[in-house]
Symmetry: C2
Subunit: 250 residues, 2 copies
């Protein structure tokens, strides 16, 4: 399994992704799922992936080497050459459709579902900072200011805290903190999501990564965050009065 | 959607179920999903249902009127006649298989999935108090003391708090309180789960319901619980120090 979350607030963008992949419970590995396509001062783009690893890797490689054009005379285009975030998201969608066209027959023969989802966020030049969720069909949606986060993979365990704690006006490092709490909730309820965790943080208009860090098992801050959160939850439900409901009325 | 949770602790059993059913987002109704089969002093049994409403209602009616025997000379048996909780769970499994045999062709023709899951808990006479999760195939699992709760329906949003806060030694009314917090988390993240909520509480060896209550919209205690929980979560993540991660190393 995978869990990745992106939060786009007023001050900037945070992305957090786990690194655990599994082909069955007895075949677990660590793979980076959070990728950067940066030209400092010109653009900063991040792509987090969930789904079939062979598909996500092929899509990434195609975005690095150049996605073939849809017309014969159209030259291949690399992700770092896209002029706007919207056109970059379109290019990713095209790469997904290309990979599907190549793999379709083999996947059908082996009865494997073509499954991929991507979070794509960043900023190019003076353009708006954007965060997109791109689906298996290559179509995509954009993050809104009303619900300023998007998730892929095993998203339900970590959603309640985001629903409650993240607003468009939330400060950037608080958004990172809440994303880590959301990741912790997911890791605790689904063993298929695990450490290390990759995190990235970009301030609006900075056009370069302010944080690009991997949290390894046993790291002090994250360990402390998990302990404090657990203790706070226990204290929180203890502080609520007991239900007043009495003996049955029938 | 549906969310039901059962918690079996040392002191007894709690069951909580929402009441919202929907055939599409534009066709939402209120149906009781938590049912009682009680003979005070002799037995107390509770059944919470998720899945296709026509199936769950047919299974319930069959359990009330009598499930046909599997052999021709075997008389129909009612749920309230089962001699032990294990045999009662087996009888429910048989009822599900019976309904499936009746509905199978029609469901296949209409391309409807035969989907049902049930939480079944209670105690008969001097027997052990039990809590079972019964699947569409009629097979079932039993709740353990290591993880003293079972859930059906939209279970992921409400699982993190149960994982953290419920132990076999948790007091009975605390188990009810945490179940209500779990229900609140689910209702907040999935609009298909909603008020009113039915709750039931049985003390071990009491053989009668101690609480049998419906929480309606606007009820003071539940409203207060939701507010306090929200406030506590906000305070909890604010109390965690900010991430110490600095400018990117690349």
């Amino acid at each position: 399994m995978t869990y990745c979350v992106g939060v786009l607030v007023e001050e900037g963008l945070v992305m957090v992704a786990d690194t655990r992949t599994n082909a069955g419970l007895d075949d677990i590995s660590t793979y980076r799922k959070l990728h950067h396509f940066n030209v400092p001062g010109e653009r900063v783009m991040m792509l987090a992936s969930a789904g079939n690893l062979s598909i996500t890797q092929s899509v990434l490689s195609m975005l690095q080497e150049g996605v073939p054009g849809e017309e014969d005379d159209e030259p291949p285009q690399k992700l770092v050459e896209a002029p706007t975030m919207f056109q970059a998201a379109q290019l990713i969608g095209r790469a997904i459709r290309r990979v599907r066209a190549i793999e379709k027959d083999g996947f059908e023969a082996a009865n494997i579902r073509f499954s991929i989802s991507l979070l794509f966020g960043g900023q190019i030049g003076n353009g708006e900072m954007r965060l997109y969720l791109i689906y298996s069909a290559g179509n995509f949606i954009e993050c809104s200011t009303d619900a300023p986060f998007l998730q892929i993979g095993e998203h339900k365990y970590g959603k309640p805290i985001l629903d409650r704690a993240v607003r468009y006006t939330t400060e950037l490092y608080d958004a990172l903190k809440v994303s880590l709490v959301s990741m912790d909730s997911t890791m605790r309820s689904n063993l298929g999501v695990g450490l290390p965790i990759d995190i990235a943080l970009v301030r609006r208009n900075a056009l370069t990564l302010e944080v690009n860090h991997r949290i390894e098992a046993g790291e002090g801050y994250f360990h402390d965050l998990r302990e404090r959160w657990s203790a706070a939850l226990r204290a929180a439900h203890r502080a609520i009065p007991r239900p007043p409901y009495g003996p049955a009325d029938k």
